[in-house]
């Protein structure tokens, strides 16, 4: 059988032939034998063990819980409903919700208390220790200076990135709107499974939780927030998502839940914490995630070349 016959057999099986082409296929015994072979394979593929009733009800219950929450959040529950929802199944929380949110809250509280303790202990030293305080304050001033500089860099970067962010958001919104019929790989990647709305900046602000400890001084940019439904397996599509990914990794690290560090040869990298995927030039490529906390940045490096291809900010501004 030649290739033409083979493709004819496949298209015949799939009902993708015109009437004339079907006649040609049916007149060729080799093609029809191949069709039967492929039909047997198709039958095997379709013979899938079905889900259990419990699993089905749990999944639908979880989805309906999300639906009800969304409806409540948007006030759409004022809309008359034709009949009561029949989802009497127990509502099961989405079981893959990452556990870091609560842990991050605890971590933030611990840092805040520790910071307060240092301030109180220094204030209680009295005048006799003023020179010591001054001595010890010097490096603190240095740290503050460095920190201020870092914040300044972040602000500059945020200002530079702002138009790009807007453009990316617009593109994401457009892609999300096209979720029912995307035309390009980009649109599919962004929109086909709703990942766009699952990413930061979506309507899930009520579910947001802080990824890092609050700044006790209150003078630095707020830390990037990680939505509860953040999906780390989704390809990163822009710098904002990369920033969220970095915040997510910091949360995992603080909670002691980081996966093993990927093996890499990127000698210039500061702290590669994970490997992820990134949408780059219409393709999804593997990247290392290099978290540069001192700079307030997170970078994506190509795994094959260690070349930095995207930088995001760990702060929300």
């Amino acid at each position: 059988m030649n290739d033409e016959q083979y493709f004819l057999a496949n298209a015949y099986l799939d009902g993708e032939l015109t009437a004339d082409e079907r006649r040609i296929a049916e007149a060729d015994p080799e093609v029809m034998a191949e069709v039967e072979q492929l039909r047997a394979l198709q039958s095997e593929l379709r013979d899938v063990p079905g889900p259990s009733a419990d699993v089905r009800e749990s999944a639908i219950g979880a989805a309906m819980a999300a639906f009800d929450a969304d409806v409540s959040a948007t006030g759409a529950d004022d809309v008359p409903v034709s009949e009561p929802a029949p989802h009497a199944a127990p509502v099961v929380p989405f079981r893959r919700r990452p556990p870091y949110a609560k842990l991050l809250g605890v971590a933030a509280a611990v840092v805040a208390v520790a910071g307060l303790g240092i301030i109180v202990s220094q204030a209680g030293r009295g005048d006799d220790d003023s020179s010591d305080v001054a001595d010890s304050a010097e490096p603190a001033v240095d740290r503050d200076g460095a920190f201020t500089e870092s914040v300044g860099d972040s602000e500059e970067m945020a200002a530079e990135l702002a138009p790009a962010d807007d453009a990316a958001d617009d593109a994401a919104d457009e892609a999300a709107d096209d979720a029912g019929g995307a035309d390009t790989a980009d649109e599919v990647l962004a929109a086909d499974d709703g990942e766009v709305t699952a990413q930061p900046g979506a309507d899930d602000s009520a579910d947001m939780s802080s990824a890092t400890a609050d700044d006790p001084e209150g003078d630095s940019a707020p830390a990037r927030e990680v939505p509860d439904d953040f999906d780390p397996s989704a390809p990163i599509s822009d710098d904002a998502e990369l920033g969220v990914y970095g915040a997510y990794l910091i949360g995992l690290r603080n909670a002691g839940e980081l996966p093993p560090t990927p093996n890499h040869k990127c000698v210039e990298a500061r702290q590669i914490l994970d490997e992820a995927t990134l949408v780059l030039d219409d393709a999804v490529v593997p990247v290392y995630i290099d978290v540069r906390e001192a700079d307030g940045l997170v970078a994506a490096l190509r795994t094959d070349s260690c070349v930095e291809v995207l930088v995001g900010s760990l702060s929300a501004e």
């Binding site: 290739d3 593929l45 899938v48 089905r56 759409a76 409903v81 989405f94 999300a176 397996s233």
Partner: protein
Amino acid sequence: MSTLERSDEDLVAAAQRGDGAAMDQLLRRHYDRAHAVCRRIAGSTRDADDAAQEAMIRVVRNIDKFDGRSAFGTWVYRIATNTALDELRKRKRRPQLHVVDDDGEAPEQADEFAHRHIDDVTDRITIDAALADLPEEFKAAVVMRDVGDLDYAEIAEALGVPVGTVKSRIARGRRMLVEKLGNQDPPGERPISDPPNDP
């Protein structure tokens, strides 16, 4: 007219207005096939359960974005495909844990059906194993076609590739599966070129 008799289009419109019963009906109508798509892509029942649940949640959260340009089922199975692929990638990134029995020999099977063999030939690999060896793009195309029942144009739209590419991926993917399952001539004897322009 009862909810059971309503078309997907009607139910979608109602769900987009906040009708929970309509949303529930849509999910029930499409869950099993979405699960089947996830099952074939993810390769294990447990991962399929997770992926199908997440797919349903994504459907719900994006129902207002669905614009009816494709059939609702197509949209759902596309979401299921992508969610299952995500699950697969996530699983590859997770450290693999192997549970051994008292003899220290038998690793835990990813799925209780993993031992099922086609025909009665015990030395043939399972369809799950054959699918697992398939490159992602071939697997997605074959599963969308043979399990999700999407046509070439719908798959092309979902994957963002031309119809000719879909045609090629399905044909090549099936060929690889057949060869891996041992039902056909060994690999190499029947190389496949790109598909002719059009059947």
